[in-house]
Symmetry: C2
Subunit: 299 residues, 2 copies
């Protein structure tokens, strides 16, 4: 029977995440986390050896979330930004290897939209093809380095507002098929899927064996179970495709209802949310167990 | 028994919408529409008398969708943009009266985000309060003109990426409560609700008698029934609160799955979608009828 490691994104607690936050590794363990998903540290944010030791001391695993921007962007028609995008991914792979992480996930293709202050703008078919070609070529180059280090590059479709390149599970599978490298797979995040896919569970089943990383988030990025996604159905779909990889919780929407306070930007926690985080992990493990159970009989 | 008028947004077919598109009014009627929701015409886009006559000839009702931007923005700290926001809303009211529309809906508060190329940025509590005060004051001024013309201003919460001012049903109700004017109510769009509210049906019930306009859209803005929203539950909730106002369909996500083609920007139709539009309207009318039926017995 597969048992998925369950983890939490570091920015649930703090951003940037520095050595002063290492005591949180113990809090994560207490809340039932098997691993932490760290944002790939920018230069100077984290000493890798010290981080690895702190993780090891608490028995916490680690995965990495890459951060792209317009100056490191595989999709960019600026050759410097495209090359910087490749160099960034290769650097992420080396950091993963140094920390003992198996995965580097995120919108690795680049093309950020709202968080880069870019407006949605139509592109011609020629421009579209050229962008796809650049991203595929860049991911292939980074995949060689990833394979050397035993690291998986996990391509995450976002949503129409966060990117104009890869927004649906179908887009993600298309991209991974074009890259066609065993070190590159699809990562799915139910927050984005809830916005863009016809069916969250259906998209998981469509991804099937190409699924290499998963983020379990409520429709509004609150704690799972606090919104309207069907977690039992999601658990069944993950079981149906035999997904045994990590599942990250990212409930960083705070308890914030004031008119005029935006919800897209990250904000620090304002209260102790460890109880609800622990309940989220337990809820997820239960739906996964129940999902597995449903596939043990005759279908 | 209440029967909600069902309509379609004009940009399902074309944007901008001009006199050359008047023959589409007949197509809308054939697809089962009771009304068209027109984007409020910019100067020179539509002759109001001719539009009213064309509508009348086809027996089609009309509602209006306002379009804000950074230069007409009640939330703006630029006094000229704030005043232009008020003037714009008053102009919308006059256009509504000229066309025979009862409603002007949309993000009337301003504060556009991704479609204005604005990045999510935290604001201080002082700034937040000042923005709320400006919006409330502006809506009150416009409400006086709306009342004079028998027009309702329908405040629509969007989502975290399209605005940083009013993103949830709770935000919308808060704003309407602060404005506290009978000509200002809440309008809900299930596309935004699916992203931000804990429960779409629960939010409809929370809005209750403050609900004055409704847009029925699938989670991904495709045709209703093609995604994962629970339309039977939505129909029951609309019946439970006695909503008898118009319901607009806005299925302007095209059948577009190419990697690298953004989904946020509007694009023209590429095929005849009248069959699926008609099916959407029929589906909506059925869930509304079934929802009403469910409230006729003992609960």
């Amino acid at each position: 029977m597969t048992v998925n490691p369950v983890g939490v994104i570091s920015m649930f607690y703090a951003r940037p995440f520095g050595p002063a936050h290492f005591p949180l590794f113990t809090a994560m363990r207490k809340a039932g986390m098997d691993f932490v998903e760290l944002l790939v540290p920018e230069p100077g944010e984290l000493d890798l050896a010290a981080t690895r030791m702190a993780l090891s001391e608490t028995g916490l695993g680690v995965e990495l979330a890459a951060r792209v921007n317009l100056s490191r962007d595989l999709a960019s028609d600026d050759p410097a930004a495209h090359e910087a995008g490749i160099a960034y991914l290769c650097g992420c792979v080396r950091i993963a290897a140094a920390l003992g992480a198996r995965r580097v996930g995120g919108p690795l293709y680049g093309a950020p939209l709202v968080f880069a202050g870019r407006m949605p703008t139509p592109v011609s078919e020629d421009v579209r093809r050229a962008r796809v070609d650049r991203v595929v070529a860049g991911l292939r180059k980074a995949a060689v380095v990833a394979a050397d280090h035993g690291v998986l590059l996990c391509v995450e479709p976002l949503n129409r507002f966060e990117t104009d390149f890869c927004m649906t599970t179908r887009n993600g599978l298309d991209l991974v098929a074009q890259v066609d490298h065993p070190s590159v797979g699809v990562m799915l995040d139910t927050f984005h899927m809830a916005m863009e896919d016809d069916s969250v569970a259906g998209a998981i089943r469509m991804a099937g064996r190409h699924l290499v990383h998963f983020q379990a988030n409520e429709n509004h990025r609150g704690f799972i179970g606090s919104g309207h996604l069907d977690w039992n159905e999601i658990g069944r779909a993950l079981a149906d495709v035999g997904y045994d990889g990590p599942i990250t919780l990212e409930p960083f929407r705070r308890n914030e209802h004031r008119l005029g306070v935006g919800l897209a930007q990250w904000r620090a926690p304002t209260e102790d949310e460890s109880g609800r985080l622990a309940a989220s992990a337990a809820h997820l493990r239960n739906v996964l167990a129940l999902g597995r159970r449903s596939t043990s009989g005759v279908q």
